[in-house]
Structures are given as structure tokens and as C-alpha cells.
Symmetry: C2
Subunit: 309 residues, 2 copies
């Protein structure tokens, strides 16, 4: 199975209104609710691709109970969320029916106690031996030490489990120093980590800082990869319009899927770009359009050089 | 005990943000969650005044479970909510920290099935014999017949239980024809019911349509009462600034409290206006400022005529 870690899980709620007008009252015409947080989104895509996935992180309160219920109903996903006293945060996306524009309201995460963090570490160590790969995704909730991801990476590497890190800021900086197998920063995260706004230079720099492979997501320009096996640039066949929510998480799922299937890097990148593009195209945020994915995967252009072995 | 009926209960959530800007992302700095719906608000104020209150209506889903948990923790309030398959709606009030202005997002209520409506009617008839008074508050969820309040009023009157109706539109029109003891429309609801924008004329007209007593809430101008015992106008001592959310529900609680304590009408009206004003003044929407209430109650001006008995 593939293990995804989401320390800052969420209940993602989408509201549809005619047009959001501040300081007025709105009747919500449609409510969609689903488990969220970046690692949960990665797990959903992996499960849709046919992988067995285990989801860990934290869940608490009434919103946490909804997460447990929804995961129990989701085929291919195993719920290994650790209970906490605080309530799992809600995120609310208010979508204007007329323009499709979205206004986001994000609750703060619950405070994690030292004992709860200890419970999580125990669960993580129990789950790792059965994992073919592990993804560490998203921000850290209050109470979790800033070096948390670095520790989780060291534990995974000690057990020989490949580990992908997708976060930002100081947790990314410290995580990279623990030598993860893959990081997947976007352009801003990469620039913040390296100080360089040149993606080519920055991906090389991030490798020097400790990441074995750096896959930078450049939005509509696709993925730029710097790996021990070579450097590539994978680009979607055409610009697509739609909702980019979850496109990065779908790319992570594509990279992990290719990793456990031992695909060569160019194929992994083609799958990741196709999934990401098919997510932007899907009508529901964070879902991917399977037909678009299958049609796109053969049409992603991958250019680059294999390093002489 | 006093029975409050809230067919369209809600989980009221208040978010604090710096300033709501459409089509951007917001970090919510503060989350307050509490059981809501007009009759639940009435019950909260009655319980704070020392009355034993029983809360009925519907509750379902994860949000309904939160309602049950919160009511179990609330002193003086007995939970007699009837389970339904659909989820209790959420209402979200987004308060701008800078201006205090509020943007409201209201989910639709759950669909009530004929069997669930039947369950409610059974529960209502079980609870009524022990009630000193009953309040019917708010809108009707989908699936509940538009004449629902008229039927509930007839049942209460057949058992000799005084009944107050606080709703609007067609449910109010039909309810009035069933001869409730008290209705508490605001100026708009009264105008819609009677076709007259003159509150004095409209309160008299609403009595002719069937209501024994009509207590019109006129915002900052207080309450205008047309009753079998006389006509009065009760006005707060000074204009107050604050959040009017729940002020009408507090007035209803004051009227019911005065009713079960057999106070004369001018005293009931003074309590209702003082509670309503103390609610506008309180920092948290729907709460009342107890010190303000106690100070205000002796300073409400009540003018009018007692009908010769």
C-alpha cells in the first residue's frame, strides 16, 4: 500500500451562491462536503488509479467524525487517522454561479498536544513497514514541531521506504535537509527554499540541499524534474481552462503511482502532468476527468537528458 | 416548562475575518458554533432567565449530533429534537473585524419526509400536556406542509396551552386563522399579512384575522401591542448600537416569560423590550447583556390604554 500523511486534515465544504456580495445574506443553493487536506486528496487520486492507500494524520470533533464516515465509504482507502481532542478544521469554498470565481474561508487547525503527536509517531511507525512509498503533504497544525517532516523522513529512510515531501516554508527547508527521495515544490515554494527565481537553477540547488529528486510544478508549463537519473521538462499538450484546486495533489499521486510501478522518470512525469491537467479540467474541484487523463497521457511532451549511468 | 418548536433548526457558525474580499482566500481567526434556529434562541434566553425549557423540532446528520451535544451541556434546556435522515443546516456569519459588518451564508434545510413529520406530531402531542406555554418560531423546512403551524396551534388550544407564533408569509397567514394567543411579527411581516404599512392599523387588522394579541416589533421603536386587555406602545429608553441578530427572539422570550408569570401586559412588554435591547448591546450575536437588561427593564416607557373590562 501507499501511505499518505496529512497532519492538517480538513472537511472541505463547497457552497454555490449566485454572486457573493459582502455584508448581505445568501441562500446557498448547493452544498458539497468531502474529506480534505493535501494528503487526503493525493490518496483519493491514488485510490481512483487502483492503488491501495492508507490515510493517516489527525481527526477530531464532529468534523473529524465526518472524515471517518466518508473514508469508511471510500473504496480503496484505509482510515488510519489518529484521534485528537480538538476539532478537524473546515475549509469553505464559496463558488459564484455566474463567474465561477471562488472565495475561500479556512478555519485554523486544532492544537495538537505533545501526547497526540506521540500517538501519531507510534501509528506512523506501525504503518511504515507495509508501505511501498509514503507522501508527506501540506502544512503543520499548531503544536506539531516545525522539524516534524524531517523526523518522519529519517524514519521512512531508515526502513527503506521511499518518501515524497510536498510542503512549504520552514517545514520544507528542514525536511529537505533530511534527504527525502522526492520533493514537489511549486515555483513560489522553490524560490522561497533556494532564493532563486530561475526554476532550472533552483531545482539543481534544491538537490544540493538534500532532496534526491526535485519535481517543480510550474502551473500551465508542466513539471521540471532534476533527478539522479537525469533532467526533464514535461509539458501538457495544450493550455487548459478550469479549476486548478488539487492539480498539485494529483501530480503527487501520479509521481507516487509511477514510483511504485517502477516506471522510468519520463513516464512518471507524463502520468503526473496528465493527471494534473485532467484535474484542472474536471467540473468538481479536486476530482480528475478520467477520460481526459487517458487521452492526455500519451500526448504529454517530455524533453530532457538521461544522465549517463 | 415552556416548549419551543423550531422546525428549521440550524448549527449557527460565526467566523471572524479581517475583511471579506470576494474571490480571495481568508484565514478565519475565530470560530464560534452554537445551536440555532429562532425557537432554539428563544429557549436559550428563557433558560438564562431561569425557566425550564424543552426544545423540539428536527435534528439530523453530523450537524444534528452537534446540536444534541450542545443542548446536553446547556443548563435548563431539555432536548426533545426528533431525528431526521437529512443533515441539519449550517448558517455561517462572516464578521469583518474592522467594520463589524456581517455576510451571511445559509444552507438549505433538510427535506422532511411524511413519516418524519408524523414522528414530530406524535412528539409534540406527548410534550404539550406538561407545557405552560408553547412558542412556534421560524420558517418551515422543505417537506413540512404550509399549514403546519395552523395545525400545531389548534392542537395546543384544544389542550388549553397558550401559543405564540413567530413566522412570516403564508405559514403566518394560515397560522393566524387558527387563532393563536400571540403573534410577534416585525413591521415587514405585519405589512405582508395585512397589506397595511400603518402599524397601528395593521395590528388591529391582524387581530381581526384571528390573533388574540398582536405584538409588532418595530426595531428601535420598540413594541406595539394590540391585545384583548388594551393597546400599548413600549419603547427603549435610548437608541442603542450593536448587532440586532436575535433581538426578536429575545422579545419572544420576554413575552413568554411574562405570560407564564402572569404579569400584566405593560410589564410583559417592558421585559420584552429590555431583553431585546440588551441583546442588541451584547458583544456576541444572540446573547443578551444581563446587567443591561436589569438596568433597562425599569426604564422602558410603556404608554397606552387599558380596555375597560
Amino acid at each position: 500500500m501507499i501511505l499518505t500523511v496529512t497532519l492538517n486534515t480538513a472537511l472541505d465544504i463547497t457552497y454555490r451562491v449566485r454572486t457573493l456580495r459582502p455584508h448581505t445574506s445568501h441562500r446557498v443553493s448547493d452544498v458539497i462536503e468531502r474529506p480534505g487536506g493535501k494528503g487526503v486528496n493525493v490518496a483519493r487520486v491514488l485510490a481512483a488509479l487502483g492503488h491501495a492507500v492508507t490515510v493517516t494524520g489527525f481527526a477530531g470533533g464532529a468534523t473529524g467524525r465526518v472524515l471517518h464516515e466518508r473514508l469508511a465509504d471510500a473504496p480503496g482507502m484505509t482510515d488510519a487517522l489518529v484521534p485528537v481532542a480538538g476539532a478537524t478544521r473546515r475549509t469553505i469554498a464559496v463558488v459564484d454561479e455566474l463567474s465561477g470565481d471562488t472565495t475561500q474561508l479556512n478555519e485554523p487547525g486544532p492544537q495538537i498536544s505533545p501526547a497526540e503527536w506521540g500517538d501519531f509517531l507510534d501509528r506512523y511507525e506501525e504503518l511504515l513497514p507495509a508501505a511501498a512509498a509514503v507522501a508527506l503533504s501540506g502544512s503543520l497544525p499548531p503544536g506539531v514541531p516545525v522539524g516534524a517532516y524531517a523526523g518522519l523522513i529519517r524514519t521512512a529512510r531508515a526502513l527503506g521506504v521511499p518518501v515524497l515531501l510536498d510542503t512549504s516554508g520552514e517545514p520544507l527547508r528542514r525536511g529537505v535537509a533530511a534527504r527525502p527521495d522526492i520533493i514537489k515544490p511549486n515555483a513560489d515554494e522553490l524560490a522561497e527554499l533556494t532564493g532563486s527565481h530561475d526554476p532550472l537553477r533552483a531545482t539543481q540547488d534544491a538537490r544540493r540541499r538534500g532532496a534526491h529528486a526535485v519535481i517543480a510544478s510550474l502551473g500551465a508549463e508542466g513539471l521540471l524534474a532534476a533527478t539522479p537519473e537525469g533532467r526533464w521538462h514535461a509539458t501538457p499538450p495544450a493550455r487548459v481552462h478550469g479549476n486548478p484546486t488539487g492539480a498539485g495533489d494529483s501530480a503527487v499521486a501520479g509521481l507516487l503511482s509511477g514510483l511504485v510501478e517502477r516506471l522510468p522518470w519520463p513516464d512518471r512525469l507524463a502520468h503526473a502532468v496528465a493527471l494534473s491537467t485532467a484535474t484542472v479540467r474536471a467540473p468538481v474541484a479536486g476530482e480528475f476527468d478520467r477520460a481526459a487523463y487517458e487521452e492526455l497521457v500519451g500526448r504529454v511532451a517530455v524533453t530532457g537528458d538521461q544522465t549517463a549511468a
